[in-house]
């Protein structure tokens, strides 16, 4: 009988300990196992959905796949970060019926990009209320400039000087503004990109260009009469030529949307501007880039220039036949 009591006593001692240890063991070890498996398998999630939270991927017995988003999406730009280089986007624009539409969808794109500074330069005598109001309502970080390309009064009608390619004076003004605003010695990291208001930009593009040291390049779709034009990249990851049909022997056979420049380089070479006059068609980009870099300095992005992240779309000029001579619609309604 004492033996049984002994046993009882021993059981009473051991039981709670074992219970405790098993419970503790389970809750401690299993998450460690899970994390260990996760380590290094993290897929590259796109930068495109910064506040999104994918919940379920309904693997399909259904033909239709739904991705349920749980997080709220903001309509303001992402919070400013102290570590990301600022992307200064220079966009020349001019008044025409589709201007507000183009700038609206451009703004919708830019609102997804962190640390973006939009420099919008109007080709006009003074800043128009349409653009002023639009910029203010977007909530983007912006600078609004304007300079008018001189008209060629000798020609009939109100045409601009045909010897100056469109947008040149505006881009140069933005470059000058950057040089006046930013000190060459300051540590402000920045990237300069020329974005025309009718192109289409993917969000990955801006993340690719953020790591530019001097000048980075990538392919552009729908330019030069091709599906896309792109730099030629050799096995060592260096640019050695241009895959274009139209004059591939230009110093930089690339479209305005196909490169980005580090701000430091712009400030370091304050004489570099786009050439205003006497520029052959297609040589505008070269007129600036040849003062900044050589071919071997170029950094290829977009997976060694194999992915298309920007499209040189053009918007049709809307047919306004029914407006007639006097204008059918109320001119006070802004389009």
């Amino acid at each position: 009988m004492p033996k049984r009591r002994d046993i009882l006593a021993i059981v009473l001692i051991v039981l709670p300990w074992t219970l405790l240890i098993t419970v503790w063991h389970q809750s401690a070890i299993a998450p460690l196992l899970a994390i260990h498996k996760d380590d290094g398998v993290e897929g590259k999630r796109e930068a495109g959905g910064q506040a999104q939270d994918s919940k379920e991927y309904c693997a399909s017995d259904k033909d239709i796949v739904e991705v349920v988003r749980t997080e709220y999406v903001y309509t303001r730009p992402p919070p400013w970060s102290d570590v990301l280089p600022t992307i200064h986007i220079i966009t020349p624009t001019y008044s025409r019926p589709v201007q507000k539409a183009e700038l609206t969808r451009l703004a919708n794109t830019f609102l997804h990009v962190a640390n973006l500074h939009w420099i919008l330069v109007e080709d006009s005598q003074r800043r128009t209320p349409l653009v002023t109001r639009l910029l203010r309502e977007t909530g983007l970080n912006y600078t609004h400039l304007n300079v008018e390309t001189p008209r060629n009064y000798k020609l009939r009608g109100d045409t601009r000087d045909p010897r100056i390619p469109r947008g040149t004076m505006q881009r140069n003004l933005a470059l000058r503004w950057l040089r006046e605003t930013f000190n060459a010695n300051s540590s402000q990291a920045g990237i300069v990109y020329f974005a025309d208001d009718d192109n289409t930009y993917s969000l990955e593009l801006f993340e690719e260009m953020r790591s530019t040291l001097k000048v980075s390049v990538w392919p552009v779709a729908f330019v030069g009469g091709l599906r896309y034009e792109s730099p030629k990249v050799n096995a060592a990851g260096k640019v050695y030529g241009w895959k274009t049909v139209f004059d591939p022997h230009r110093p930089f056979a690339i479209d305005m949307a196909g490169f980005a420049i580090n701000l430091r380089l712009i400030l370091f070479k304050p004489q570099a501007y786009f050439k205003l006059r006497g520029v052959k068609g297609g040589y505008q980009e070269s007129s600036l880039l040849r003062e900044l870099v050589t071919l071997s300095d170029l950094e290829p992005k977009a997976s060694n220039c194999t992915k298309i992240l920007v499209w040189h779309t053009r918007t049709e000029k809307p047919v306004l036949v029914n407006e007639g001579k006097k204008g059918f619609t109320d001119p006070n309604v802004e389009i």
Binding site: A101, R227, T313, N322
Partner: protein, 336 residues
């Protein structure tokens, strides 16, 4: 032996007491923390997304503390009716670009469900990948237009109506998926037909969200004019300001109206008539649903343009075609 026993029992009790005390303390400590016992069940990308979401909300909070005066939208938003956007699309050079910038606009609209219907015999990889990476709530459908209904190369764009079968397919899916249980009123929601080359402001979706039957607004750059719009007097639509055939029952563009989900579900026969004469496509759908005085005018009594009927130029491919003829065309594996 008896004393030893008693001693042993006493120690047993003491030990028992100590153990339960420790257990209690442990449990109390656990109470203070969040129970993450389900974490090892979640797939890894859920963890990543959740962490990213937490990171973002923390960033938002710090931004708030930095004395911003912008009004905050409550993250746990009160119930918002879902906007179902039906977009017909078809493969052509600019398709990926158009869908990309459309997606970038839609990402700003909460509670939006994008229904993309491809004019194709099967789902293409381009659209599938784009939708998967978009982060939007979406449904991917496809419906091939019959050959005789399809525009051929060189046809002017007004010759045959486009997107009819695809929009009807979107409606069919909606009616099947959101079918209300018998006796119930049906879910709240709005249905909008958004072509993939137009331009939409985010404000537009705010305006259409509380549509009760059919709401209308101006559309820019359409009908050969700067904009077309319904004319509103006394809060009701009395006529339409359009430059082309104003005698149509509903002389509006596809982008100029939205229909409440309830109306779509309770009228299962209402769809777009591909045989309707040019310009009557919208009317063929709406005339069974609503009368003109039931229309709800939005956008400040239809005085603001929040959507533009932009069209994208077909890119010139002269050099590409020339190269292709020589067998030197660009790498088709690179998706454009």
């Amino acid at each position: 032996m008896a004393t030893r026993m008693r001693l042993k029992l006493k120690t047993v009790f003491v030990l028992y007491f100590m153990v339960s005390l420790m257990g209690l303390i442990y449990a109390l400590m656990q109470l203070g923390q969040r129970c993450d016992c389900t974490e090892h069940d979640m797939p890894k990308d859920r963890i990543i997304s959740r962490l990213r979401g937490e990171l973002h909300s923390l960033q938002e909070q710090t931004r708030k503390l930095e004395a911003t005066k912008q009004p905050e939208k409550n993250p746990a938003a009160p119930f918002l009716p879902t906007i179902f956007v039906i977009t017909p699309t078809y493969a052509r050079l600019v398709q990926k670009a158009e869908l990309t910038r459309l997606m970038q606009t839609f990402l700003h609209v909460p509670q939006l469900h994008w229904i993309v219907v491809e004019d194709s015999p099967r789902k293409t990889a381009l659209v599938t990948d784009l939708l998967k990476k978009s982060g939007l709530v979406y449904t991917h459908l496809h419906f091939l237009t019959a050959k005789d209904r399809k525009l051929q190369e060189g046809d002017p764009s007004w010759l045959k109506p486009r997107g009819v079968e695809q929009r009807n397919e979107g409606l069919r899916w909606l009616r099947e998926d959101r079918r209300a249980p018998p006796g119930e009123d049906g879910q709240q929601g709005v249905v909008y037909f958004a072509d993939d080359d137009n331009t939409y402001s985010v404000q537009l979706f705010t305006e259409m969200r509380n549509t009760q039957r059919v709401s209308v607004w101006p559309v820019g750059l359409v009908g050969g004019m700067k904009y077309e719009r319904p004319v509103v007097e006394g809060g009701k639509v009395v006529r339409f300001h359009t430059g082309w055939r104003p005698s149509r029952p509903f002389p509006m563009d596809m982008a100029g109206f939205a229909v409440s989900l309830r109306l779509v579900l309770t009228n299962p026969e209402a769809c777009f008539d591909g045989e309707a004469p040019m310009g009557f496509l919208e009317s063929s759908f709406l005339k069974g649903l609503v009368t003109m005085d039931e229309l709800e005018p939005k956008a400040d009594d239809c005085t603001k343009v929040l959507v533009w009927h932009t069209r994208t130029e077909k890119p010139k491919m002269k050099r590409e075609d020339a190269l292709q003829a020589q067998g030197l065309g660009s790498d088709p594996a690179v998706e454009v």
